[in-house]
C-alpha cells in the first residue's frame, strides 16, 4: 500500500478535523472523539506520565482542537505514528516548558520498549532534541523532570487514577493533579545498564 499524498478537499475526514463538531451533534462528535482517542492512546503508550499530566492540564477534549485543525491531517500524509505527530505539534506550540521536558525525557527513556528500529529512533532523537556524549545521551531541560515524574507516579498510586479507570463510566468526576514545578535549567541524563534505562537530573548550577 502506497503512502497517501493528498486528502481530497471534499473528504469528510478533512472536514471533521478542520471543523471539530459541537458536542450537541452527538454522532459527529463521537467520531471526532474516537479520532482523538487514538492520539491519546498512542501518546500514553510511549509516555504514560506525560499523557496523564497533559490531561490534568487540558481538562477538556476541546484543547485537542488546534492539533486536529493544524497537524492531524499531516500525520496521515506523513504516515508516522500518532504519538510522533502529536509530540511534533506539541513541542512547536507555546505549551508549558515543564510538559515539553516531560514528554521529551519520558519518550526517550521508554524508546526501546516501543521501537527497536534504528531509523525510527533517529527520527525521535531529532524531534526530541536528544544530544550525545561518548557514553550517555542527554536532553537540555528547564526543570528537574525526575521530580515531576515521581510526583505523577505517586499521584497514580495514591488516587484512583491507576486502579479506578472504569469510574468515569459511572459519571465520577476526575481527580486532577495540580502540578507545580520550579524552573531550574539543567540536563536530563540517560544511562542504560543491565537492559534498564535510567534517568537522572543534573542542574546547570552545580
Amino acid at each position: 500500500m502506497g503512502v497517501p499524498t493528498d486528502v481530497a478537499t471534499t473528504d469528510y475526514y478533512r472536514h471533521l478535523l478542520r471543523n471539530p463538531p459541537d458536542a450537541t451533534e452527538q454522532g459527529a462528535h463521537l467520531v471526532w472523539v474516537r479520532l482523538i482517542s487514538h492520539v491519546l492512546a498512542s501518546v500514553e503508550q510511549r509516555a504514560p506520565n506525560f499523557a496523564l499530566a497533559l490531561c490534568c492540564e487540558y481538562k477538556d477534549l476541546s484543547r485537542f482542537g488546534s492539533y486536529c485543525r493544524d497537524d492531524y491531517e499531516q500525520k496521515y500524509l506523513d504516515a508516522v505514528p500518532h504519538a510522533f505527530s502529536f509530540v511534533r505539534y506539541f513541542l512547536a506550540s507555546d505549551e508549558a516548558n515543564w510538559l515539553k521536558d516531560l514528554v521529551r525525557c519520558e519518550i526517550w527513556l521508554n524508546r526501546n520498549q516501543f521501537t527497536t528500529k534504528l531509523e525510527q529512533q533517529v527520527k525521535w532523537r531529532d524531534l526530541l532534541g536528544v544530544k550525545s556524549r561518548s557514553d550517555f545521551d542527554y536532553i537540555l531541560v528547564t526543570h528537574d523532570v525526575t521530580v515531576t515524574i515521581q510526583e505523577i507516579v505517586g499521584y497514580r498510586e495514591t488516587t484512583m487514577s491507576r486502579i479506578g479507570n472504569l469510574l468515569w463510566l459511572l459519571g465520577v468526576p476526575p481527580i486532577r493533579l495540580l502540578q507545580r514545578v520550579n524552573s531550574r535549567p539543567g540536563i536530563a541524563i540517560f544511562n542504560g545498564a543491565n537492559g534498564r534505562e535510567s534517568l537522572r537530573f543534573m542542574p546547570a548550577d552545580e
Partner: protein, 274 residues
C-alpha cells in the same frame, strides 16, 4: 532542643524499583519498616542493615486493627512472630489498616477511620494490652483517610488518646491534609496537640489535586516534603519533648528524591533553612 533520630521508611522489596543505596542508609539513624512481609524476610530491610549495621529499627504495623475487638494474646503472638530476629525499638500504626477474610498481606486493606470517643477508648485499651504482652511501645498515628464524627478534630482525637495514656505518632502530612481539606486553621489545630505524648513523627510529600472544582491535598510518598510540612516538623521538634524518631516516608521515591528529602529535613531541623 534535642534533635530526634532522622530515619527513612522501608517497604516490601520490589524487583522493579531495586535497592536504595548505602548512601541513603548511611545518613539516617533508623529505618521504619512498613512492609507486609515480616521484616527479617524482606530483601530491602536486610539490605538496609547490611549497608548500615548501626541503624535502629521501628516497625510500622500494617494489619493490626487497633480500634477492633482484638484477641490480645493471639495478636501479640502474631506481632512477635513478625518481629522474630528483629531488634525493633518501637511499633506504631494508624487506625485505618484492617484485614478481611484472612491474615495474609493479600487480605490487608485500608478503610477510612472514624474519630469517635468509643474508638479512642478501644484503641487505648488495645495499645496498653498489646504493650504489656509484647514489651514494646505501640504508638498511634493519625491516619490519612478519616471521617469525623461528634465534632472531633485530629487534635482532639490525639488529646483524648493521650489522656488515656496512649503514646502517639504525629504524621505531619496527614494532619496538614486534614486541615486543608476540612478548611481548618492548621496553626490553631497544631497548638492544641498533646505534645508530651508524641514519641514519633512522619514527614512525607503532599500533592494538590482538584476534585469537583475543589482543591484538596493528598499524601504522596514519591516526592520531597513541601515547605509547610518541614516547618510544622521543625515546630514539632521544638515543642514535643519526648519526640525521639522522625521518619521521612519515601519508600516509593527515587534515590535522588530520598536523598534530597532527607537533606531538606536535616537542614530545616538544624536551622540551616528558613
Amino acid at each position: 532542643m534535642n534533635r530526634p533520630s532522622i530515619g527513612i521508611s522501608v517497604s516490601d522489596y520490589s524487583e522493579e524499583r531495586g535497592h536504595s543505596p548505602s548512601q541513603v542508609y548511611c545518613q539516617v539513624g533508623h529505618i521504619e519498616y512498613g512492609g507486609f512481609d515480616a521484616p527479617a524476610h524482606d530483601k530491602e530491610f536486610r539490605h538496609a542493615l547490611e549497608c548500615n549495621s548501626q541503624l535502629a529499627v521501628g516497625r510500622h504495623l500494617v494489619s493490626t486493627e487497633l480500634p477492633s475487638n482484638l484477641d490480645i494474646r493471639a495478636e501479640a503472638s502474631r506481632i512477635l512472630d513478625d518481629l522474630r530476629a528483629v531488634p525493633a525499638r518501637y511499633l506504631l500504626t494508624d487506625a485505618e489498616y484492617w484485614h478481611l477474610g484472612g491474615r495474609s498481606s493479600k487480605n490487608v486493606w485500608v478503610r477510612p477511620c472514624s474519630l469517635t470517643p468509643e474508638m479512642c477508648a478501644q484503641i487505648i485499651g488495645n495499645c496498653r494490652a498489646l504493650e504489656q504482652e509484647i514489651g514494646l511501645p505501640i504508638w498511634v498515628e493519625n491516619p490519612a483517610f478519616i471521617e469525623v464524627e461528634y465534632d472531633f478534630t485530629v487534635s482532639e482525637f490525639f488529646y483524648r488518646l493521650a489522656e488515656g495514656g496512649a503514646g502517639l505518632c504525629f504524621d505531619v502530612g496527614h494532619f496538614l491534609a486534614f486541615c486543608v481539606n476540612e478548611s481548618l486553621d492548621p496553626e490553631f489545630e497544631f497548638s492544641q496537640l498533646p505534645f508530651e505524648a508524641i514519641h514519633a513523627a512522619h514527614v512525607a510529600g503532599l500533592s494538590r489535586v482538584e476534585y469537583m472544582s475543589k482543591e484538596l491535598v493528598i499524601d504522596n510518598h514519591d516526592i520531597q516534603p513541601p515547605a509547610d510540612c518541614l516547618e510544622f516538623a521543625r515546630q514539632l521538634v521544638k515543642r514535643a519533648p519526648n519526640l525521639k524518631w522522625l521518619t521521612y516516608e519515601a519508600e516509593l521515591a527515587s534515590v535522588d528524591v530520598q536523598i534530597a528529602g532527607l537533606r531538606s529535613i536535616m537542614e530545616k531541623l538544624d536551622g540551616r533553612t528558613n
